[in-house]
């Protein structure tokens, strides 16, 4: 069973014919080539596939692509602004880069998307709020120290 669905990914409309059993994660990665969203566990435990669905962070591995028909999907690929002066990083991307918050980088896209959702809701979160907002994003490299610093730094620097 297949369905034709329409997704607005990073602001661009896409029409995709998808098997109903395929997750949004697999459709983003395999059909649309957006491999920035990572598959770390495929069962909603690690947060590597965090995207924004109509602005809210979700695990793309726990959403069927058909359920997302008609929604706005934001992935890591849509975060930086590309303009005449080249690529302008989002403040979170900038702070993750500068403060050493990305090591192996596999959790980074999901982590940044979770942080983006937090800052959209709470522009100046406490350290504790940051830590709980990314509790569903596992990082095995950093001890979270520099990730938390980077999110707080981005929050203080600019209102999202």
């Amino acid at each position: 069973m297949k369905r034709l669905i329409r997704l607005y990914v990073n602001g661009e409309p896409h029409e995709v014919l998808v098997p109903v059993y395929r997750t949004l994660l697999d459709v983003l990665r395999e059909e649309l080539g957006l491999t920035g969203t990572k598959k770390g566990c495929d069962v909603g435990d690690c947060g590597a596939c965090t995207i924004l669905l109509n602005g809210e962070p979700v695990n793309a591995c726990l959403v069927l692509a058909v359920e997302a028909d008609g929604t706005q999907v934001d992935t890591i690929e849509g975060l930086a602004q590309v303009g005449e002066e080249g690529v302008r990083l989002h403040p979170l991307q900038e702070s993750f880069l500068r403060l050493g918050a990305a090591q192996c980088g596999f959790c980074t896209p999901g982590m940044i998307m979770a942080a983006r959702a937090l800052l959209a809701e709470n522009p100046s979160p406490s350290e504790e709020a940051v830590r709980f907002a990314i509790a569903g994003n596992i990082c095995r490299c950093t001890g979270y120290t520099k990730i938390v610093q980077a999110i707080l730094y981005a929050a203080n620097r600019e209102v999202m």
């Binding site: 098997p19 059993y21 990665r29 395999e30 957006l34 491999t35 920035g36 969203t37 990572k38 598959k39 770390g40 566990c41 495929d42 069962v43 435990d45 690690c46 590597a48 992935t75 890591i76 690929e77 975060l79 930086a80 690529v87 990083l89 979170l92 991307q93 900038e94 993750f96 880069l97 500068r98 403060l99 050493g100 990305a102 090591q103 192996c104 980088g105 596999f106 959790c107 980074t108 896209p109 940044i112 504790e128 940051v130 830590r131 709980f132 990314i134 509790a135 994003n137 596992i138 990082c139 095995r140 490299c141 950093t142 001890g143 979270y144 120290t145 520099k146 990730i147 938390v148």
Partner: protein
């Protein structure tokens, strides 16, 4: 800028961070090719079973299935799975697909199909007949007379016991006022790198295999694939772009790498294989569960007189790094704390039907130093000394023997202890457990460690580097060293920039393609900065000399009077011309081809650390919360302090997990992991992590290393475990000689002590 350096010693952002924060970084599973198939492995549900027959007819009949492989369709070449010969050597005991399953999850067949879903469905259609064999999961069971022999070796020993001795242990014990003997146990943590194992294989028209892989040791993958598949080395190309962590487990090859290549050969199409998280848990690697029976004698003045130990590791169904970690774990007990050079240490590695244990950050020494440093606390109490003073009295220092057999060059361990004690105000704040009361009790504990930068002399460490000068003054740095997420490539670029006198922005690292870069043995044992970095430094030094010679010729002066800074040729501070002007072609004449290469074979350098952990123990629930860690590391020179801090903070996170919550638990009946997922295999998450204060000491730069730098990757995970166990003791008076320290065990022990109300 510090101490006259321009590029090193500064916390540069990683050179690949831009790709990572934008989602552009590509990991093995992110590559695809037209016409690609998906491969899956059929795994044994039995821990020990002989495969009698496999019927693939139904699977092959499923639409979309392109090939099925059984143990009889693949080369029956026994291989080690693990690269690089170490002390005690490796055992070639693995097959591409096995006809005798030796742990739950051992691969017995494989399939390739047009979609992942069809491949999965096909697995269920492959019918395997097994003869179930008796299985053993613990060392005790495996060593019992009459136990099933997993690889036919006597007593299920992987190799003959390793025996390391010096001095006279019996005389040492006789000299002691007090002797303590106790057994220490460590758990079965899983690496949990975030990127599941994955690869993509295809054969081109010339019969050359290209494999995109996630490996720490690309050249070792090339070597073993060539051996097993019967391909010459020039027809195997291994490509590693970005890696999502490895922590030692991705030193080894797994069944998918062989199977994927064979499926690609069989079908004539590209094949991709990606492990599920459950497969990563059950069928890759764990740390070795180890028991250490440690006996030490001590005089009333705090002098340790002798050390005896038996180190026994459970390596699971295959040897992998069992011999190596057992050798390292055993030999490392010669050091860290002095014992009048009287020791007798024995190491054994034992096959069982548990999941395979392999290399994991801290390689065998995590377990040894846990035993040693917990016992240091116990001995201190026996002789009535403060645990800090007792450690300072016995800490190894200049002139003491090291595990590599060389004498140590500095008193760096004591320096770490002193600096940490000052930071935590040890003498003001530390109090013995007897005075602790209340529902929530605070404790402070110390853990220490030392680690060589590289595995010399066990391994003939070798790295190479090639630097290619471009005609505009920029440089390509070709290295075979992997960056599994550590920032190693950034450090190599910094070393090249510093040595050349060029801006970091002018260096581009080319890596991860065995067709293009020079040989490197792999990324492990905290060796990359030291060994690969030395090769880079030497190649850069040579290139610099050639540039200066060229400049001398062009300017008509002695090359020795010139220097390069910020990409400019200078004499006595005066800028004469830029490197770009020097090397570019003129009047239609091409530029001078300038290339330099160097090889470095390592010597030995040691890094040291002392961790001070603060904990709070809830005596009603047995829950331990680590509230602060002060981590003091002596590493010679921090090329990139930002990267060093990141390594230490991450190592502490893993170590807290190993100490409190992480343990892959096996069903005692079936040997199947009971918590093969992130819900029940519990890594510390962001809210669980304490404040970490990292202090980097540069007291003992190594004379043979780039700018004095030593390794740091392994170090942090070794010191934190004993620090936490000792802090729990300090808070509660409950001595844990095993990890992990779980709340139910702690609560039961508190009750035995009669310290809590009993309702």
């Amino acid at each position: 800028m510090s101490r006259g350096f321009s590029t090193i010693g500064v916390g540069h952002p990683r050179i690949d961070a831009i790709e990572k924060v934008t989602g552009k970084a590509r990991y093995a599973a992110d590559f695809s090719l037209p016409g690609m198939l998906y491969g899956k492995i059929k795994r044994s549900p039995h821990a020990h079973a002989r495969v009698l027959s496999i019927d693939a007819e139904k699977a092959l009949a499923l639409e979309g299935v392109k090939a099925v492989l059984t143990p009889w369709d693949v080369p029956r070449v026994l291989h080690t799975g693990a690269p690089a010969p170490r002390l005690g050597s490796l055992r070639a005991d693995q097959l591409v697909l096995t006809d005798v399953a030796r742990f739950v999850g051992d691969g017995v067949a494989a399939v390739a199909a047009t979609t992942e879903e069809i491949a999965e469905a096909a697995l269920d259609l492959i019918e395997v007949q097994y003869e179930i064999l008796p299985a053993v999961f613990t060392v005790e069971e495996a060593r019992r007379p009459g136990a099933p022999l997993i690889h036919g070796t006597e007593g299920n020993l992987v190799m003959p016991p390793i025996i390391v001795q010096a001095g006279d242990v019996e005389a040492g014990f006789a000299e002691a006022d007090l002797v303590l003997e106790a057994t220490y146990h460590t758990g079965r943590p899983s690496h949990c790198y975030m990127e599941p194992n994955a690869c993509l294989c295809y054969f081109d028209e010339s019969g050359t295999l290209t494999i995109w892989a996630s490996t720490q040791c690309a050249f070792m993958v090339r070597g073993i694939l060539s051996e097993v598949l019967g391909l010459p080395l020039h027809k195997v190309r291994v490509v590693v772009k970005h890696m999502g962590g490895g922590f030692g487990a991705k030193q080894d090859l797994y069944q998918h790498e062989f199977v994927c290549a064979l499926l690609a050969r069989r079908t004539g199409r590209p094949v991709k294989m990606v492990y599920s998280r459950k497969e990563v848990f059950m069928a890759t690697k764990t740390r070795h569960p180890v028991s250490i029976t440690l006996k030490q004698g001590v005089k009333r003045d705090g002098t340790i007189t002798a050390r005896q130990a038996l180190y026994v590791s459970n390596t699971g169904g295959y040897a992998s790094h069992g011999p190596g970690i057992t050798a390292v774990g055993t030999i490392d007990m010669t050091s860290l704390y002095r014992c009048n050079e009287n020791w007798r240490l024995e190491g054994r590695s034992v096959y069982t039907n548990a999941p395979i244990a392999g290399a994991f950050r801290g390689y065998g020494a995590v377990q040894s130093f846990f035993a040693l440093d917990v016992q240091m606390d116990e001995l201190a109490e026996m002789v009535g000394m403060n645990p800090l003073d007792f450690r300072l009295k016995n800490a190894v220092g200049e002139g003491d023997p090291s595990p590599s057999g060389h004498r140590l060059r500095a008193d760096a361990l004591a320096a770490c202890l002193r600096r940490g004690a000052e930071e935590v105000r040890w003498h003001e704040r530390w109090q013995p457990p007897e005075v602790k009361t209340g529902r929530v009790r605070w404790g402070l504990g110390i853990g220490t460690e030392m680690h060589s930068s590289g595995a010399y002399p066990d391994i003939k460490e070798q790295s190479n580097a090639i630097l290619k000068m471009n005609e505009d003054g920029t440089v390509q740095l070709l290295t075979g060293a992997a960056d599994l997420g550590t920032g190693a490539h950034t450090v190599l670029a910094q070393i090249a920039a510093e040595e050349l006198g060029m801006p970091l922005a002018n260096i581009r690292v080319v890596s991860g393609d065995t067709d293009m870069v020079p040989f490197d043995i792999g990324a492990y044992a905290s060796r990359t900065t030291y060994v690969a970095g030395s090769a880079v430094q030497r190649a850069a030094a040579e290139l610099r000399q050639r540039l200066l010679a060229l400049a001398g010729e062009k300017l008509g002066c002695e090359a020795t009077t010139l220097e390069i800074r910020d990409g400019e040729i200078r004499r006595q501070g005066q800028v004469l011309l830029s490197v770009a002007e020097l090397v570019r072609g003129e009047g239609g004449r091409p530029a001078v081809a300038l290339m330099a290469q160097a090889t470095y074979e390592a010597k030995v350098a040691y890094s040291f650390a002392a961790h001070f952990a603060e904990v709070e123990v809830d005596t009603e629930t047995g829950m331990v919360r680590v509230t602060k860690v002060v981590a003091v590391h002596e590493i010679g020179k921090a090329i990139n302090p930002l990267g060093v801090e990141g390594q230490i903070e991450g190592g502490i996170q893993q170590g807290i997990g190993h100490s409190l919550t992480e343990d892959l638990v096996l069903d005692p009946e079936t040997g199947a992991p009971l918590n093969a997922g992130f819900v029940d295999y519990k890594m510390p998450l962001a809210p669980d992590m304490p404040e970490i204060r990292v202090i980097i000491l540069e007291e003992a730069p190594d004379p043979d290393s780039p700018f004095g730098a030593k390794g740091v990757g392994e170090d942090p995970i070794m010191a934190i475990g004993p620090a936490i166990a000792n802090a729990v003791y300090n808070a509660t008076g409950v001595r844990f000689r095993e990890l992990p320290i779980t709340p139910d065990k702690l609560l039961a022990r508190l009750r035995e002590q009669g310290e809590t109300d009993t309702a």
